[in-house]
């Protein structure tokens, strides 16, 4: 089990090919940073607990020698208790500040310029429809130009869905009768998986799409097709 845990830790630290930790946009990079940061802080906590845990069990386990000992009564220890109240608070503040900052950053959805590309995303059981400003519509693939700001306008025709392209950023729920927005700027060309992340019925599993990030020229060409 320990070996497995070690392997897993190495896997995460290397960031290798886990999609969430392989960001292709600023939003996803910020989120990956938060994940690494919180993971680091939390590993420190786990380490401290593990050391105390193993140490105490090893040192104070029942043996032939202490079998009939009656340990001394001890109510508590104020200093120690203050330490393990204050220290976590400090650690948490260290996590809370970047959390607040990044949460505000990724929630900023307004278009910053006239060049911003707007895409209407309509979800229904069990497919996506991506509508571009010139009227072009696709279902299976969302094509985006690289290094350009995109604002997605998401709404649902029936139940709640959730739009998720792990490499481009966290998810945003797609609600019926209401528009949610999401701003992303993909910064690398490639094809990325997209999924519906909110359970939406029988074929929820199959409600997938691909996001193709291509260069400007290719995008314009594709748009005119």
């Amino acid at each position: 089990m320990k070996k497995l845990a070690m392997m897993a830790v190495l896997l995460i630290l290397s960031g290798c090919n886990l999609r969430v930790l392989d960001p292709k946009s600023q939003t996803a990079s910020d989120q990956a940073f938060l994940i690494y940061l919180s993971f680091g802080i939390m590993m420190f906590v786990v380490l401290v607990v593990t050391i105390l845990f193993i140490g105490f069990i090893w040192k104070y386990r029942e043996t032939e020698k202490n079998r009939y000992d009656i340990p001394k009564h001890e109510e508590g220890n104020r200093t120690l208790e203050i330490i393990w109240t204050v220290l976590p608070i400090i650690l948490l503040i260290g996590l809370a500040i970047p959390t607040v900052m990044i949460t505000y950053d990724v929630s900023d959805i307004g278009a910053t310029s006239d060049d911003t590309l707007h895409v209407n995303v309509v979800a229904e059981q069990y497919q996506w429809t991506f509508g571009y400003e010139n009227g072009k519509e696709t279902h299976k693939n969302l094509v985006l130009p690289v290094d350009q700001e995109v604002v997605l306008h998401l709404t649902s025709k029936d139940v709640i869905h959730s739009f998720w392209v792990p490499k481009l950023g966290g998810k945003i729920d797609v609600l019926p009768g209401e528009e949610n927005q999401m701003k992303i700027t993909p910064n690398e060309e490639g094809t990325y998986q997209g999924k519906c992340a909110e359970y939406c019925g029988t074929l929820h599993t199959d409600m997938r799409f691909e996001t193709e990030v291509v260069d400007q020229e290719e995008f314009q060409q594709w748009l005119e097709e």
Partner: protein
């Protein structure tokens, strides 16, 4: 299989047929066995009793039954996900959705809750020196409501109508427009009926703990399990009515076309708010009693008092309080805006502080003690690292922007299994081994217990650790399939192996119980573990009204100090009168009436609704004018004169 019955086409999938076949074969065998062994008087004794130990045991027995059922569902899930592009039996599409919905709902409401309430029933009165719960009749009613709700929910599958909107039943998917069958009606009535029982249990527990403590047992001298039970009961009292309201609104949406969660006036997010205002405290309702159990066990098996008692109690209360202020952290992706998201992120992180205090206090309880590694203690020790891992992923999830990546993925699945299995399930097992002598007079076999522990713990980590990684690699929860390109095969494969290890470990529980009761050994004495709290001063199994000689408590762990000083606890000359036990079939009758009522609503048969409704109402009227304790009161009054 398809056939016509009364001119209607009935379609039965093979898993439902298999279930019916096993019931048709199994039920007569069970009946024969009960008759041959002459168990019916015992069954009748338990079914009509209002004694806290017997009702507690009933809670636990049925919770274990549901545990096996929902566990088999989990194995079906794991078999369907064992490899990419897999088709196991019938578990794709809606069938898969039904299985995970049943697994989740049943594990939370009909396994975790009743296991804990059962243990509270058995142990809390004994730990505080009460002869029974304050309202024994209400206790029986509470149990039967849980059983009725559980059975209604259990039955859904046999009529090929298992709920399929997830245990969270998010609107509008759970409304009539999108899931029109009877399926989610089962969900509503199963939870509504059992939820009422839970509220009754909580009221009972609060009154018992506040009113029936032994003389001298101030709140500040109370062991931590009753403390945890008290705080949990207050959480139930606030949270469960919210669930009841949410279910009622959903029922109106489904049956009568009200539009609370849909349409112009309604909003689907209202459901999420209501559900999580209940749902998050529910997590602590599951965790806090387990914390209490672990505190008692770690202290007993380290032969030391609890380290930092006061901060332990304050931490319990703080966790309970903060638990009501964090519900929207389940909704970071809904689009509530950055202010709400960061607010709930910070309140959520704050919970880590009292939880951390508890963890360190447990560790320091063991320091300088003598740690006996018997089965209950092993479960308590297994809990600490497991729960800490679940706790730290909890803090990671609290980071709102990062949660937008984790949300609704297997990372979350891994997290909540780490916290709920880590605390509640390990806690219930620990409590079961620990208090088994109090329930039955026997100690469960230690060696088999250790087999159970190690297989379960290793299986658990194998199952759920890889799911963190599957989630980070983009695997959403509640999907029945993935592709090879998704790169999550290895994680899922390991997961499935682990799940079967956990399943195998449960066979050791059955074997252990069988082995323990096969030999006709003498019952153990009152104190098999060298315990510290009051329950170890009364015989095992506990007789009715064990504290006829009411002890006087002069300090925390009074029994322990009395044992050290080789004296017995002083006895109160004029003890408070005990709750009055009665023998009654009324809860059974109410149970039947509510079953009729529920099935009437589930299938929309108005005549049955009227029949069940009239019967239930009639029952309440009957109760209002009848009190079988009157006779006992009269006798007491005469004795006083």
């Amino acid at each position: 299989m398809q056939f016509y019955l009364f001119g209607e086409l009935i379609v039965l999938p093979t898993d439902v047929i298999a279930a019916w076949v096993s019931v048709i074969i199994g039920a007569p065998l069970a009946l024969y066995w009960f008759t041959k062994k002459r168990y019916w008087p015992v069954v009748w004794d338990f079914a009509t009793s209002t004694n806290h130990r017997k009702i507690g045991m009933l809670y636990i027995i049925f919770a274990l039954l549901f545990f096996f059922r929902a566990g088999i569902d989990a194995l079906f899930i794991r078999l369907q996900l064992v490899t990419a592009e897999n088709e196991f039996w019938v578990f794709q599409g809606d069938k898969y959705n039904e299985v995970f919905t049943t697994h989740g709902t049943m594990m939370i409401f009909f396994v975790a809750m009743p296991l804990l309430i059962g243990l509270m029933n058995v142990a809390v009165p004994l730990q505080i020196g009460a002869n029974d719960l304050a309202f024994p009749f209400l206790n029986a009613i509470g149990f039967y409501l849980f059983l009725t709700g559980g059975m209604i929910f259990f039955a859904a599958f046999f009529f090929n109508a298992a709920p399929n909107a997830g245990w969270t039943a998010y609107a509008p998917l759970s409304t009539y427009e999108f899931t029109s069958g009877p399926n989610n009606n089962y969900y509503i009535f199963g939870l509504q009926v059992s939820g009422l029982g839970t509220i009754f249990a909580a009221i009972n527990m609060i009154v018992t703990i506040l009113r029936l403590r032994a003389p001298g047992l101030k709140l500040t001298r109370m062991p931590l399990f009753p403390w945890a039970s008290l705080i949990t009961s207050f959480l139930i009292l606030v949270a469960f009515p919210v669930l009841a309201i949410a279910l009622l609104l959903l029922q109106f949406d489904r049956f009568y076309g009200a539009t609370f969660f849909l349409g112009e006036m309604g909003h689907p997010v209202y459901w999420q708010h209501l559900f999580w205002i209940f749902g998050h405290p529910e997590v602590y309702i599951l965790a806090l009693p387990a914390f209490g159990i672990f505190s008692d066990i770690i202290s007993s098996f380290s032969r030391k008092n609890v380290f930092g008692y006061t901060s332990m109690v304050i931490a319990l209360a703080l966790i309970g309080l903060l638990g009501f202020m964090v519900w929207a952290h389940h909704m970071f992706t809904v689009g509530l805006g950055p202010f709400a998201n960061t607010f709930f992120a910070i309140t959520t992180m704050m919970i880590a502080v009292p939880t951390g205090i508890k963890v360190f206090n447990w560790l320091f309880t063991m320091r300088r003690g003598v740690i006996r590694l018997q089965t209950p203690m092993l479960f308590a020790l297994g809990f600490i690292p497991t729960f800490v891992m679940g706790g730290v992923t909890g803090v990671m999830l609290a980071s709102a922007a990062a949660d937008m990546q984790y949300h609704d993925t297997y990372f979350v699945v891994a997290h909540f299994h780490y916290v709920i299995i880590g605390s509640t399930v390990l806690g219930a097992f620990a409590g079961l081994y620990y208090w088994y002598p109090k329930m039955t007079g026997k100690v469960l076999d230690d060696k088999l217990g250790k087999w159970h522990f190690w297989l379960f713990l290793i299986g658990f980590h194998l199952t759920f650790f890889p799911q963190h990684l599957a989630g980070l690699n983009g695997m959403p929860r509640r999907v029945y399939d993935y592709t090879w390109e998704d790169g999550v095969f290895v994680y899922n494969f390991i997961s499935t192996i682990g799940a079967f290890l956990m399943g195998a470990s449960m066979l050791f529980v059955l074997w252990n119980i069988y082995k323990t009761h096969r030999t006709k050994e003498e019952n153990v004495g009152p104190d098999p573990w060298d315990g510290r709290t009051l329950e170890w001063s009364v015989p095992s199994p506990v007789p009715e009204h064990p504290f006829e000689k009411m002890p006087v408590i002069d300090r925390r762990d009074a029994l322990w100090w009395a044992k050290q000083e080789e004296r017995s606890l002083p006895i109160e000359d004029h003890p408070r009168t005990s709750p009055i036990a009665v023998r009654t079939v009324q809860p059974l009758v109410l149970s039947a009436a509510l079953t009729i009522l529920s099935f009437g609503f589930i299938y929309g048969w108005v005549w049955m609704q009227i029949l069940g409704g009239a019967a239930s109402l009639g029952f309440f009227l009957l109760r209002a004018f009848n009190d079988e304790r009157t006779e006992a009161y009269r006798k007491e009054e005469q004795d006083d004169e």
